[in-house]
């Protein structure tokens, strides 16, 4: 249906579009964006157009005159303002019946070209006038359509104008609101002060999609707009741009320092694992085999045996551990790798959270005794906790995984569980596994040391532990807002951005230079004090554009310097996390800013922690489980720790659940972890406290939740 309409409209257009792309129907804006980005025909720069239909308050006896608004996707359309402009009352988004009545289609088939001569006469059509003026290319895509066309703004306006009659004219959408979120193009440098006022005054949703409304769309938009990531032509793989990769580098630097203190050394094992080696540990490989990518050909030659790309390196490394470990002196052996692994998931991929290739570190250690292994498992988990809590300001709850959820082939798994309050889902943040002697036993990799006295063999105790770039995704989800990314200072590659302000058409070159020089000097002072600071002296961009740009990118602190600030020897500090503005003296500014960054870091963590714990609901009766989950919480229950009970909780809570976001892997609740710290809840009374799931005796409080 939508396709036919497009075809008709295109035929009516005397010009040909920049590009027309056919693709499979998509089920979400994010998926559409991925499909489109991956297509080589897609113009390298385009904007999206949205079509909104409103119904004004109309007397019951009268025929309504719907209002059709055609605007840039990123523009916030304020129905009150539009109503005021058109002198119509109480505009509300139109019901499906109305769309059917006027256009003969549903909202997923709407596009500017869905308006024809017949419908144009019956509605009021309002277009953002900047679309027609723009040099941009616009993507026209009705969400039910399996094609997307790219046309100029002029062509859209011309098409709609071609429908005009004396009685019905196309109307321009008035500012403010309309042009608010559109970045000021470089060519429009003059008259900056006026534009600043507009941007600062207007309510903006720079990110285009509200976090609370379309979380998946918001997430991908933030990543793209903050320049963290781009889609890639191989599905499920993403490009980590410098803005996100630098966060990974910060994590690497800190973590490397810490593990080296523990005697861990970095190394590199090949990414390939031969089939026979990979399949040596049965339980382990069962956990991974559906997702293993196989190389079967090199150049034009088929390989004799297919070779796997590592999904994790246990089986790659342990044959050599068996070779290298010969005596007590060779223990402990502690190696780590920073590499990428491949798990070819067929579920919906999601940047950072579930990708087919991802970056991580994997530590693999071997000890003589279980005690040493146990201790290291905890030490590493605590380093991971510090990465999340101290670097990324993301609160996590440390605990142990249930038998069902532990690492395939391991003895036990400790974990950090994070929480995404917008979706109400738990997320596994990092894991530190004790493998016990499962991989070292004689029938496996046979890793042992011999007692020099009696020749007796001791098989080693092993751990493996990993932290991946998923951490970055969790950080984005926890802190980001409708202005974009919010970076915790410790991992921000730019911690403070200095922006010159108050430069008008009347500003002399000398004054302008003075302001710019002061900004650069301030940035330098801060850098000398160890603050990662930068002055944004780009010509031809308004301060408002710059504010918006750095806010989207999540820079923790903005420092503004204008003529007044210079006169008063001050700078205006603007916090990204709270928006709080505060003028501070330039005297001792290095210390002031360092302190402020530390405050931001700790405030961000505390806010997120309060939020997390407000969503952890202790539930002791089954009837409260699903309502708590549906209320976007995770639950703490006294639990029996039986696998059958866990299965049943998942099944029952899934059945009862409301329909979920299509990106969510599962709507049933699974166990997240058994927290080490049980003191948050009343003590379990053995034989008395019953399991919320099955009513049998409970052992420990356990977190359950829907999860990523």
């Amino acid at each position: 249906m939508a396709d036919e309409i497009l075809a008709q409209a295109l035929a009516a257009l005397s010009i040909s579009p920049t590009a027309t792309i056919s693709h499979e129907p998509t089920t979400s804006p994010a998926q559409w964006k991925e499909v489109i980005s991956a297509n080589a025909e897609t113009p390298k720069d385009f904007e999206l157009i949205k079509v909104l239909v409103y119904k004004p308050k109309t007397a019951k006896t009268a025929t309504p005159v719907p209002v059709v608004v055609i605007a840039r996707e990123a523009t916030e359309t304020n129905s009150t303002a539009i109503g005021k402009q058109l002198n119509l009352k109480e505009l509300r988004l139109a019901a499906p019946e109305l769309l059917q009545e006027f256009f003969g289609l549903d909202k997923d088939s709407l596009s500017p070209f869905a308006i024809d001569l017949a419908s144009f006469g019956k509605v009021v059509t309002v277009i953002d006038p900047s679309i027609a003026d723009s040099t941009s290319t616009f993507a026209i895509h009705a969400s039910s359509s399996s094609s997307t066309i790219f046309v100029s703004g002029k062509d859209i306006a011309n098409y709609l104008k071609s429908l005009e009659t004396d009685a019905t004219k196309l109307q321009d959408l008035a500012a403010p609101g309309a042009a608010a979120a559109a970045p000021a193009p470089a060519a429009k440098a003059p008259a900056k002060e006026k534009e600043d006022a507009k941007i600062e005054g207007a309510v903006q949703i720079a990110i285009g999609v509200k976090k609370e409304v379309d979380f998946a769309g918001w997430y991908t938009n933030v990543l793209i707009k903050a320049d963290m990531l781009d889609y890639y032509s191989v599905s499920g793989c993403y490009i980590l741009k410098p803005w996100s990769y630098s966060i990974w580098e910060e994590i690497q630097t800190w973590f490397n320092t810490e593990i080296k203190k523990l005697g861990v050394q970095n190394s590199y094992f090949p990414m390939f694992i031969s089939q026979s080696v990979l399949e040596r540990e049965k339980e382990h490989i069962e956990g991974f085999s559906p997702e293993v990518a196989w190389v079967t050909r090199a150049g034009q030659s088929d390989l004799e045996e297919p070779i796997a790309i590592r999904p994790t390196s246990e089986t790659s490394m342990y044959p050599y551990y068996a070779k290298w470990i010969r005596s007590h002196r060779d223990l402990p052996l502690k190696l780590n790798q920073w590499n990428s692994v491949v798990r070819w998931e067929f579920k919906n991929p999601q940047p950072f959270l579930r990708t087919r290739e991802f970056l991580w570190q994997e530590g693999h250690t071997a000890f003589l005794t279980k005690e040493e292994a146990d201790q290291e498992v905890k030490e590493i988990l605590d380093l991971y906790r510090q990465v999340y809590e101290d670097l990324l300001a993301v609160p996590v709850i440390p605990g142990i995984k249930s038998e069902k959820e532990k690492f395939a082939g391991g003895l036990y798994t400790t974990t950090l569980e994070g929480f995404i309050s917008t979706s109400g889902r738990g997320i596994q943040a990092a894991t530190s596994h004790c493998l016990g002697q499962n991989f070292s036993r004689p029938e496996m990799f046979n890793i042992f040391v011999e007692d020099p006295n009696d020749g007796s063999k001791s098989h080693v105790w092993q751990n493996s532990w990993g932290l991946s770039t998923r951490a970055i995704g969790v950080m984005v989800m926890v802190h980001g807002d409708n202005q974009g990314l919010v970076l915790p200072p410790r991992v921000a590659s730019v911690q403070a951005i200095v922006v010159p302000c108050g430069i008008t058409a009347k500003t002399t070159d000398e004054q302008r230079k003075k302001i710019n020089d002061s900004c650069e000097a301030l940035a330098k002072t801060l850098r000398d004090k160890g603050v990662r600071a930068k002055a944004d002296l780009r010509d031809g961009y308004t301060p408002g554009y710059k504010f918006n740009d750095w806010e989207q990118k999540g820079v923790p602190l903005r420092l503004e310097i204008g003529p007044n600030d210079l006169a008063k020897n001050q700078t205006l500090t603007v916090r990204r996390d709270t928006g709080a503005k505060n003028p501070v003296s330039l005297d001792n500014i290095g210390q002031t800013v360092s302190d402020l960054l530390a405050t931001i870091q700790s405030d961000m963590f505390n806010t997120a922690k309060t939020n997390y714990w407000s969503h952890v609901k202790a539930v002791t009766e089954w009837k409260d489980v699903v309502p708590a989950l549906d209320g976007k919480n995770i639950i703490a229950i006294p639990w029996c720790e039986q696998e059958a009970c866990e299965d049943e909780i998942k099944e029952k809570s899934g059945r009862a659940a409301e329909p979920q976001d299509e990106r969510a892997p599962s709507a049933g609740a699974k166990s997240l972890c058994i927290p080490f710290d049980q003191s948050h809840w009343p003590a379990i009374e053995v034989g008395k406290t019953k399991c919320t799931g099955c009513g049998k005796d409970a052992k420990r409080w356990t977190l359950f939740g829907r999860s990523y």
Copy 2:
């Protein structure tokens, strides 16, 4: 033949070997080692046995009595000492005829089990007595044999003893020499002083194979013994152990700092490239396609289209450069990645130098003008030069590649050419390419910026540049000696090792503690001064064992502390590069050691540089070309720069060449580079100076050589 003998001997043995492995015949010890290491049946720890047959000086009329020596592979057997022990004169390695006469086989079929009742009676058989006592497993492999058996030392001795008659007994090989290179086992802790003396007195070839005699064997032995690397079960892939990976980390840290100063940012692109994208640039893909590894299956599902693992990332990155680069403001774009790439070579792999997966960095930059691109190409090449010369102490000659040797699809390639004097071969050390507009042109990736005034398009100028872990291999080859690795201080993870000495059985616990504490204190003092120092306080190892261990591992400086040193407030410094020993005062030791390390660094570079240039022969007549090459030199010739001439030089020099090491990829000389600095040679007179290759007009002096 050898196989039958083994089978017979095994039948004679009443015990069964630890393992028997059948494999393809191998052509070198290195290849055998690789085959054996990759086999899952191979015991995790074993030593090699060698069998040497000597003929003593014998009167012409007399029948000689050959001496058969059975020793550990690593033990240096001194024929003079053996002769002295047996009271025989002028032992010489036996000629093939003699082996045929006594054993009915050639030297490649010799093994302890090749000695039978008949031959045993006619020869003198000498065995290292420590073999029979050893708890080690020994590999018995005649080089012509397609199997290897693993037996205990006791079994070897028992077999030989079973051949004894009253007339002929098995003899023990006397120390010194025999036990010299064998590490003192942990259980033999007492009586250290005596063993030290032995080790210090004996001439050792710790590495087992002489660099000048079997370079390929020496190279792999050094890498294994220095704990740099291990073989891996997927052929052509190797494990980088911490001792080598830490060198890579040093390079990364330094290079990252430098490129960030140039405005380069790190990022990460997926390892996968879809077939269609990979094949977009024809010339480029032709250069790589025979070596591309293809993923065709994930889990049990065949992929719709095979996906390549990146051999390099031009085609992975540039579609996104086209997307991201929109205006002049987006230039220059400078991204770098640290990753691994896969080139599935079918030639003989060699650790670090030619491996199927290798670690590198690849920089990819885009500029508005050719001038900017040209400048960066040189800046990056100079950073690479600093990595080699300043960090690795490896001299290189910067220049430009010939058209034939330049990067596939690029405009021109600048390169650093290194030299391995032992093999007389050049080696490409690092390359910095100007791609010109070949990848940005409209029919390729179409990367351009638009002029905001007139809308005209400028396609960008691009560079790509890479440095790989090959650098580590070159460093090993250039500096290593017959004691093992020699590390330049700047990249050594341990720059100074402090070894306690002079502890004897009579040493009191108090004295021992005092010496150990002094060593630890010295190491700490050095660490506080920024020296990467460590005290080797391992119990149960003799100082001699420790000396040997750290020498093999190439630690630049050893500091010995014994009772005498303590009394004199001094330490004995021993340089790894020269062996020079010098007592120095402990006062101001931090500065003394720092200075000494700086001296070692610069001496190592200067020595290598002098050596390099002594092997660069200016040749102006064809007749001198092949002799110069055969003399293990590279040549500088006035060259016409024509591709046909280059082909002919390669062909003619290859035809004339002597047989080469089987690992060498080609015996013909190819152009290495046209050095930027032409001042080493007489100025080319245009129209007068003729090309050494073809006699036409020469343009510039160009380096040609056999190469890796």
